[in-house]
């Protein structure tokens, strides 16, 4: 796992204001947010069309994810939940590879084992997530302890939602991080909902960042619709962690624009007004306006950027949908490094049965 790609191109520009996104990187960050927005919308549509089986959209959380990951080093390890498309795109994961995973075809490095959104790749320092919420939090802490022990100057970053602050691993992970001063940045995207449960009913603490007190670590609330604010908070937390000053819990306040997942209908529980109020602060639009005003973008270059993103997405879909399905017998691989005698026999028997060509459902 030594081949991290340089997903964030290093900038020639000297870091004058070390806690700000370098000006020349802003258009690329914006482009990543646009790509996330478009690709996310498209994937939900693919699910509606039955072309992928399930999807967890992230609309509304672009600035939080891109701002956070932009502030990190490519060598830092990410432990996503399932909604972190923005982080993956910053790291440079190809759209086709993501789609291969969503489809579960033979191009999927996960070999069709997981539901969509649960991808991860050593090359991009993104650890494959599971569905049970929160478990990645203590993994991130363990990895940070290991990195520290090995003398590697990296941080680990678990992503999770407001609901997940109630999980066992939130408690265990933050407590271990405090005790062992693990270089971990706990990045909580408070999108105000855990499926149908509003933030106010999840916990009575005033903010989620307040929970840091319980572990003697730093807690920070940040406007997650503002890519700059997020970048600054993460950058500062990273510096602090690497100075040996311990972990940070960052609460990025955002809003989930879409349903919890393709299986969810937010109309059953969510007031329309709330959504409208937050949509008025759409993070993609906000950065668009800023860049237009700052002259880093023109109406024309912006339109071209959106078109190019759309084209990139279309071609990735075409490619992924043309990729062969996964090999049936691959189902038996990777349980252990070598199969047990029992599994070996099951595989052999199944192979024979498949070979018999009987009707299969």
């Amino acid at each position: 796992m030594a081949d991290a790609t340089q997903a964030i191109p290093s900038s020639a520009e000297p870091p004058v204001r070390p806690l700000e996104i370098p000006r020349l990187e802003l258009p690329r960050a914006y482009r990543t947010m646009v790509l996330a927005r478009l690709f996310d919308d498209r994937c939900l549509a693919l699910q509606r069309q039955g072309r992928i089986g399930f999807y967890v959209p992230m609309g509304g959380q672009e600035a939080a994810q891109v701002g956070c990951t932009w502030a990190l080093d490519p060598a830092d390890w990410l432990f996503p939940a399932y909604r972190e498309l923005g982080a993956a795109l910053v790291r440079g994961v190809p759209l086709t590879l993501l789609l291969d995973q969503f489809i579960g075809n033979s191009g999927d490095l996960l070999k069709g084992r997981q539901m969509p959104n649960h991808y991860g790749y050593p090359k991009y320092r993104i650890v494959t997530g599971s569905s049970p919420v929160g478990t990645q939090i203590s993994h991130a802490v363990g990895a940070a302890m290991a990195a520290k022990k090995k003398g590697h100057a990296i941080v680990t970053v678990p992503f999770f939602g407001d609901g997940t602050t109630s999980s066992n691993d939130f408690h265990a992970g933050l407590n271990f991080a405090g005790v062992f001063q693990a270089p971990t940045i706990f990045f909580c995207q408070n999108n105000q909902w855990a499926i149908s449960l509003p933030r106010s009913r999840q916990t009575r603490s005033e903010t989620l960042a307040d929970k840091a007190v319980a572990y003697g670590i730093q807690g920070v609330v940040v406007d997650g619709m503002d890519v700059h604010a997020v970048y600054r908070a993460v950058k500062a937390a990273r510096d602090r962690a690497l100075r040996g000053d311990g972990p940070t819990l960052i609460e990025a306040q955002v809003y989930r624009f879409g349903p919890h997942s393709s299986s969810d209908d937010p109309k059953r529980y969510r007031p329309e007004e709330d959504l409208a109020a937050w949509k008025a602060r759409d993070p993609v639009t906000a950065l668009q306006h800023e860049l237009l005003e700052a002259g880093l973008l023109t109406a024309e270059s912006d339109a071209a950027l959106w078109d190019a993103a759309r084209a990139e997405i279309a071609s990735a879909i075409q490619e992924a949908e043309a990729t062969a399905p996964v090999d049936p017998l691959s189902m038996f691989d990777d349980v252990l490094a070598r199969p047990t005698p029992a599994l070996e026999a099951q595989r052999a028997e199944f192979a024979t049965w498949l070979g018999q060509g009987e009707t299969r459902t």
């Binding site: 089986g53 399930f54 489809i103 579960g104 075809n105 999927d108 069709g112 084992r113 997981q114 539901m115 649960h118 599971s130 569905s131 049970p132 919420v133 609901g163 997940t164 109630s166 999980s167 066992n168 855990a194 499926i195 149908s196 449960l197 009913r201 999840q202 916990t203 299986s263 969810d264 059953r268 529980y269 399905p325 996964v326 049936p328 691959s330 189902m331 038996f332 349980v335 047990t340 029992a342 599994l343 099951q346 595989r347 199944f350 049965w353 498949l354 009987e358 009707t359 299969r360 459902t361």
Partner: protein, 325 residues
Amino acid sequence: MTELNLVQAVNRALAEAMRADPDVLVIGEDVGLNGGVFRATEGLYKEFGADRVIDSPLSETGIVGAAIGMALYGLKPVAEIQFLDFIYPAFDQIVSELAKFRYRSGGQYPCHVVVRAPYGGGVKGGLYHSQSSEAYFAHTAGLKVAIPSSPADAKGLLTTAIFDEDPVIFLEPKRIYRAVTGEVPDGDHRVPFGKANTLRQGDDVSVFAYGAMIHPVLQATDTLLAEGISSEVVDLRTLVPLDEAAVCASVEKTGRAVIVHEAPRTAGFGAELAALLAEKCLYSLKAPVLRITGFDTPFPYALENLYLPTPERIAHGIRSTVRAG
């Protein structure tokens, strides 16, 4: 009688139990306004309010732990775990506490909680929305384990569970939540625990299954009938208590046994059934006992239809068992 699908039958059982007894309540994630992610609790929040249909924070530890406390205080909580795959944060509460309260207190503190969970594959859920971990609970002394295969049993077994004296793990085969409909008795319908249901009488082979697997089993055995193979199909309904008498009686008649479940084979509940036969019915067995099960792998996503026993794979297994001896 009303024609309902399985999840509607679950909903009916809950609603009627809550009407009958003010101590019955529901607690879980998204069970309130949202009516549960599978709509099992649809309408209950409106009818019974937030005090009896409790939307909990995201903690299965807390859901089961709090439910235990409520039960100790005399309520009859029905805890919903959103997917069986998410029950593990509550495993300590279930195994260390729920299962052992009566025993460890010398009978002073019975602890009656129903833990409901949708389970099993066939919904494109991958590793974490498909598991069948009934064997863990069946191996845990102090728990009952019930699994319906039809809407009528869903209502009847769940009603029995809610008014039982013991903790019950109630597993609902989500693959057939909507796919299977049937007539469901109105009113206080209870199906007793520990009584298997013989769905088909037969002479050549006994097929034991439960939950969603009953349906491919029936497809397979109906097909085989045309080939002249007569199968006895026994739906176990509850794994604990197990209707050992029915299992043995059937094999003593047919002399052959096939066991079908979705869970991985090694140390799955099928092993207990096969062991029972090897202990109690050895001399009746004309052919090796066969387990047709999920494979010894985590549950896969893209290939779930190959992982799950199909009517064809089941028919193949039954056929070879009948031919074997």
